[in-house]
Symmetry: C2
Subunit: 244 residues, 2 copies
């Protein structure tokens, strides 16, 4: 155990820190949109990808803020964690983090697109006669687009988790939301969610058009490191001044 600790300490000291000096904010997990004190609408998301990104960013030398929806994961060592429930909460935390100073914003959270139009203070009762219930939902704020449109704009990386036409939707999101990069993630009824592994494609605008970089199936921990290296490489010019 002592040898192991020494080995780890040695590794810590000799590992290159390409993100040293960078302030990175990562959003992770789902958001929960309550209908009443008992019921809520949410998205499937374990938070594993976002937590792996936060951990990798910290290991690469960055100062990391992790804004997380309700998940059952341990906070990575050395990472500042902010817990939120709803998309509105997450937006507020994201804006605060950017205001405090953020060079790179990675939006990996599965934010619920819609919330209940009205929240019931007490548990909604099932009515005996009624076989159907109509729920009116309103749009949630678009967190990654709001951050990308802000005055103090960090480098912004979004995620697109789609069950079909992933590339199409990812490229649409990249341009429409004015992101610097997008991570396209094919998901299905039984893939990509609770798994420890994932495969993604990274897209970004470059001179001469959209560039793509495929990252094959691997553990989310390994994928997080690969993603960060690629993000830092492609955005070296915009991220460099902050790193000094």
């Amino acid at each position: 155990a002592i040898l192991e600790a020494l080995h780890q300490a040695y590794q810590r000291d000799t590992t290159p820190k390409p993100a040293a000096g960078l302030r990175i904010t990562v959003t992770a997990g789902p958001t929960r949109e309550p209908l009443d004190p008992v019921r809520y609408l949410t998205n499937r998301s374990s938070g594993k990808m976002g937590f792996a990104l936060a951990e990798a960013a910290q290991a690469l030398g960055a100062s990391v803020t992790l804004i997380s929806g309700p998940v059952t994961l341990e906070t990575p060592h050395g990472v500042r964690r902010v817990d939120v429930t709803t998309a509105d909460d997450m937006l507020a935390a994201a804006q605060q983090s950017v205001q405090k100073g953020c060079d790179l914003f990675i939006s990996s959270a599965a934010v619920a697109d819609y919330k209940a139009a009205s929240y019931a203070e007490h548990k909604l009762k099932k009515q005996n006669g009624e076989e159907t219930l109509t729920l009116t939902l309103v749009k949630n704020p678009d967190i990654v687009a709001t951050i990308a449109a802000g005055e103090r704009r960090p480098t912004v990386v979004g995620f697109a988790a789609e069950t079909q036409d992933v590339e199409h939707y990812a490229l649409d999101k990249l341009t429409r939301k004015k992101l610097d990069m997008i991570v396209a993630n094919q998901v299905g009824a039984n893939e990509g969610f609770d798994s420890d592994d994932n495969a993604v494609t990274l897209y970004w605008q470059a001179e001469g058009g959209v560039k793509a970089h495929e990252l094959p199936l691997q553990s989310k921990v390994s994928l997080a490191h690969a993603l960060l290296h690629e993000i830092l490489r492609v955005n070296a010019a915009s991220l460099a001044p902050a790193a000094q």
Copy 2:
């Protein structure tokens, strides 16, 4: 550690087993009602109360089946666990368990009352123009009432988690769903859900009217033992033949 193991083994052998020979089924956790491969409607429920009941029932000598919605809890030692997602799944598992032979059915799951009228095979896309989304939900089956109305009817204990008028709703459920007992649980925006503690009141019909037994705030593990002892005591007559 050896002394502790011996002590535990000694305790195991000398602990009274009032549930010996009984087949007990417990439902626990929330159900998840998918709207599409990504989004779902659910209830707040950690599953802790149901898992504690299953563990206590096993410790008291019963043969236990635990039907659980999506939770992040370890299966109690010696308990047969069936994992389900939706209310429809949970009903099927409950009916199968009763068909195989069940003396006592404890419904502690927070079953979603409604599910999406139609499930979208692919992720529903947020439409740019539309600020609201109308969701049509249909009623889920009433699991505890269905089991209580079945031909091979076990002793049936339900739960009523309410944010207000708990006694009123609990007594209504007890009679309307023809349950043998009901556990009334006051919950709120911030109480009774993820907590390790809980306080409940148990109601049942007896000669001369409804009887009540209050169990004050205590750990869910301790509460589970107290609840089971009371359930076994009150239903001794109907549960006795099966125990022979």
